[in-house]
């Protein structure tokens, strides 16, 4: 198997194995299943299976919707069943209060109601993550149930609601439910597929992988999450409405049962979360087991054993789900005995100007003499530790400014404060003439701030290319819908990856890369932001000398296009050969600053940091 980049680019798809036949096997299987699904009611009038398929379709829509927030964005919800219930109740209440209207009219209304309630859950996700979020979703479900029980005037309480019976011909009894649900599933899958390919989807996966980091590359967390939550409930609410109409009787116990949510989560997990077909496969599998447990194994407790036992087993033995497991088995078989690409030599890059026409040299004389980034009296305390204690310094526009100082002097904390990875206790931060403290990370990124991390923070489960295209330079709702994984965005990312020498790795998952390779990808990622100021946290740390040289070369080249740099580094030849001015940090504040020459001879700096025996080896050592 050739590993050259251009061929990979031509194939243009995300997963390496999609270049070979299994994808076609998969597509043919999916198509066959779809055809079977569509013709089934016409060729068979077996009501047992029709019923099972109708329920499976409802759960498939629910699980696929769930996959948008839980699979992509990583917010596991045990409250997803509530949207099916809300859909059912919307149609139930409206159909009984307004008996003269066509019941089908309420199906889209139910979708809107579900999406609006999901908006509330979306706001909740802004404040809580991980396990607290799971707990909140359970509380949310029960709260909705309690309201449905107690708001008797609307919902008729525990007695439930009876919907009008279908008016159509008995010969086609289930057909309308069946085909409306097939249509809704198709819409749901289309939406999931589309989201996965857009900036929105990239942003959601980035949020799952590392939410704090996602914000620093310009991803507007609240908007993205709220859109995701609404999208995850829209068609589910409609499916819930059809489900309610199909059942003709709804009550709070049935519609808001926690087991409904468990069934959705199980379907998604077993099939494979964040995959397109996994939740559908899972839903059909679980519903079949569910019916079997109900009819052949005695119902009630058997269902509990089944769902509970499966949940335990899936978490322990099959955390990634069936489809991803098959995928990795194929990948394993295909690459067995072949050398990994991850050890390949890193490309030599070349100049960025030769790769793209989006950069041009700037005339040094035209750069205004002003600070593009300035911090004033910045403070951050951790308990009694004053990590940053009144630091003030300025980064002149067009400069490569160095920030040095002993370990624990507050360098990385200052970076964290500048990009709002942590919020400062006090002080001001100015970027390009605007005060930015008080802004969230993504707004700072949109204003031209890019930052790499000392310990690289790539999105581990995303490919190298996806890591770069996940970046959002500005925020408009329109650009969230832009296709990210191909087209202009992908081309721009390719150029940057070529520049840093990592293009050959574009389809590798980020976690497969070495530390040094990750540093390069992170640089490309930041460049995708097209920032005015680039903060680099130890760009030369932990990488080989050739790469250090290349890093210095790239910094200089980017600087010649007008990019301003602020870098933290312990490699003195690197810093002193590259930076001017240099700021020395000690005990959380700016202790000295000046040209590299001045810093090397400043007695206070020698005492606090460099040490008496510090001699910068001959200038040849310095990267030039």
């Amino acid at each position: 198997m050739s590993t050259t980049a251009p061929r990979a680019a031509e194939a243009g798809t995300r997963r390496p194995w999609s270049r070979i036949k299994p994808i076609w096997v998969g597509r043919v299987l999916a198509l066959a299943a779809a055809v079977l699904l569509v013709v089934y009611p016409m060729v068979s009038d077996d009501l047992y299976y029709q019923n099972m398929i109708i329920l499976s379709l409802v759960f498939a829509i629910g699980a696929s919707g769930l996959s948008i927030i839980s699979g992509f964005a990583g917010y596991i919800s045990l409250g997803q069943g509530a949207f099916i219930g809300l859909g059912g109740y919307t149609i139930g209440v409206l159909a009984t209060k307004l008996p003269d209207t066509n019941v089908w009219l309420w199906v889209p209304v139910a979708g809107v109601v579900a999406a609006l309630v999901a908006l509330v859950l979306g706001f909740v996700s802004l404040r809580s993550r991980g396990p607290s979020f799971v707990i909140i979703t359970v509380a949310f479900l029960f709260l909705v149930q309690v309201i449905a029980v107690n708001w008797v005037s609307l919902t008729n309480g525990t007695a439930g609601l009876t919907l009008p019976l279908p008016t159509w011909d008995r010969d086609i009894a289930n057909w309308p439910f069946y085909y409306v649900l097939v249509g809704l599933l198709a819409l749901q899958l289309l939406m999931t597929w589309w989201i996965r390919r857009t900036k929105l989807g990239m942003g959601l996966i980035a949020i799952r992988e590392d939410e704090t980091k996602a914000a620093t590359i310009g991803i507007n967390l609240p908007t993205q999450k709220i859109i995701a939550f609404m999208a995850s409930a829209l068609f589910v609410g409609m499916a819930g409405a059809v489900y309610g109409y199909y059942l003709t009787f709804i009550d709070p116990r049935g519609m808001f049962s926690i087991l409904l949510s468990v069934q959705l989560v199980l379907s998604m997990l077993i099939g494979g979360k964040a995959t397109l077909w996994g939740p559908v496969l899972g839903a059909f599998l679980i519903e079949w087991l569910n019916e079997t447990a109900n009819n052949d194994w005695g119902g009630g407790n058997a269902r509990l054993f089944l769902f509970g036992g499966l949940l335990v087993a899936v978490v322990i033995f099959l955390p990634q789900g069936i489809l991803p497991a098959i995928e990795s088995a194929i990948e394993w078989a295909r690459t067995r005995g072949k050398a990994g690409l991850v050890g390949a030599r890193i490309g030599s890059g070349g100049s960025l100007a030769s790769l793209t026409d989006r950069v041009e040299l700037v005339d040094r004389a035209e750069i205004p003499d002003r600070a593009i980034l300035e911090v004033r009296d910045l403070r951050k305390h951790f308990g009694g530790v004053r990590a940053v204690d009144g630091a003030s310094f300025a980064v002149p526009e067009g400069s490569i400014t160095g920030l040095i100082g002993p370990n624990g002097s507050g360098k990385t904390t200052i970076f964290n404060l500048i990009d709002d990875t942590i919020r400062a206790d006090g002080g001001e931060i100015w970027l390009d003439g605007k005060r930015i403290d008080g802004m969230p990370s993504w707004q700072r990124a949109h204003r031209g701030l890019g930052r790499t991390f000392q310990i690289t923070r790539l999105f581990r489960e995303m490919t190298v290319l996806e890591n770069v295209v996940a970046v959002q330079r500005r925020f408009t709702v329109g650009q969230l819908g832009r296709i990210a994984v191909s087209g202009a965005e992908a081309r721009a990312a390719d150029e940057l990856l070529e520049y840093v020498g990592m293009r050959a790795f574009r389809d590798q998952k980020a976690h497969a890369l070495s530390y040094g390779q990750q540093k390069l990808v992170e640089l490309a990622q930041i460049l995708m932001l097209d920032p005015k100021v680039i903060l680099l946290d130890e760009p030369a740390g932990g990488i080989n000398p050739v790469l250090i040289e290349r890093m210095a070369e790239m910094i200089r080249e980017l600087n010649s296009y007008g990019k301003t740099f602020l870098l933290v580094e312990h490699n003195m030849p690197f810093v002193l050969g590259l930076c001017d001015p240099v700021h020395v940090l000690a005990r959380g504040k700016d202790m000295a600053h000046g040209t590299p020459e001045e810093i090397q001879h400043d007695p206070a700096v020698i005492d606090a940091y460099l040490g008496d025996d510090f001699v910068l080896e001959e200038k040849v050592e310095a990267p030039r």
Binding site: I76, G130, V134, L143, I316, N416
Partner: protein
């Protein structure tokens, strides 16, 4: 006035029982960062074991705590070894799902063994009360509350005064360093899980006497217990006790003065509000998130 005082006292007694049950949940979270959704199910298991000892052998249900607790401890310890330890380091959301699955299995198992009908433990003093100064306090509630306090104090002594307690706290603060100074974190975790479950079991033995129960009651319990530990701050024992007392009082007040129907909504509303307004709870601390381990 007397009525209010009586409601408050009953609320506090109930709060003591809640504190016992919730202490296990918060302890398990504190040490292994696992939110044990099956905690309510173990509590109901404690109630069923108590019922069985009382029904089959005539053992007094409240004194039976002495037997119930070790039995439930054993179940908890085995459960840990079998299903929780393989995923101890997995992301928290997966352990939430795992323990949720565990709760469902336990619910099904209890339904198979004891049936899904409402079960009540009614010792001879179930209908008797202490009365003084116009106050009217059911004996079962008074005994139950006192036993809960005794068990809690024992638990507190173990945690603060013994080597095991220091090992547990060390493992909770920094597992890697605890290993370095000779603490077998895996064994400590298994013990803590057992102890936490045992506390739930003891709580279940007491509440089994106070209220009738079915296997499905565990949903209500886990909601209540989560509300308590979330209110107090996940992982904080003192927070759990404080949260439990406040919760017990709030619940008795709501059902006495508002309506029992809406009292069921109280825990969910609290979870919602606390996690949104002050996610770290009353006594919890926020962790420093920026210091990434290399």
């Amino acid at each position: 006035m007397t009525e209010l005082l009586q409601t408050l006292l009953l609320g506090l007694l109930l709060g003591g029982v809640y504190a016992l049950a919730a202490s296990g949940l918060t302890l398990i979270f504190g040490v292994m960062r696992v939110i044990n959704i099956a905690h309510g199910a173990f509590l109901i298991l404690g109630a069923f074991v108590t019922y069985w000892l009382w029904d089959a052998f005539g053992l007094d249900p409240l004194l039976g705590v002495v037997l119930t607790t070790p039995i439930v401890f054993g179940v908890g310890w085995i459960t840990y070894k079998l299903v929780v330890s393989p995923v101890r380091t997995a992301p928290m959301a997966s352990t939430v799902l795992l323990t949720f699955g565990l709760a469902l299995v336990l619910e099904g198992a209890m339904g198979e063994i004891w049936g899904n009908n409402s079960t009540a433990i009614r010792p001879s003093y179930a209908d008797e009360s202490f009365t003084f100064g116009g106050l009217f306090l059911p004996k079962a509630q008074v005994y139950g509350g006192l036993i809960a306090v005794v068990v809690l104090v024992l638990l507190w002594l173990v945690l603060t005064k013994t080597w095991l307690g220091r090992a547990i706290r060390a493992a909770a603060t920094n597992p890697a360093s605890a290993e370095l100074v000779g603490i077998k974190v895996a064994s400590v975790a298994a013990l803590v899980f057992g102890i936490g479950i045992a506390a739930a079991g003891a709580g279940g033995a007491i509440t089994g006497v106070l209220y009738p129960f079915v296997p499905g009651s565990h949903y209500q319990w886990i909601a209540r217990l989560l509300a308590i530990v979330v209110l107090g701050g996940l992982g904080s024992l003192n927070g759990a006790v404080l949260g439990a007392l406040m919760f017990g009082v709030a619940e008795t007040l709501t059902s006495a003065y508002v309506s029992p129907a809406w009292a069921t909504a109280v825990p969910y509303a609290i979870v919602f509000a606390v996690l949104l307004i002050r996610p770290q709870g009353l006594l919890g601390t926020r962790l420093r998130e920026d210091a990434v381990a290399a």
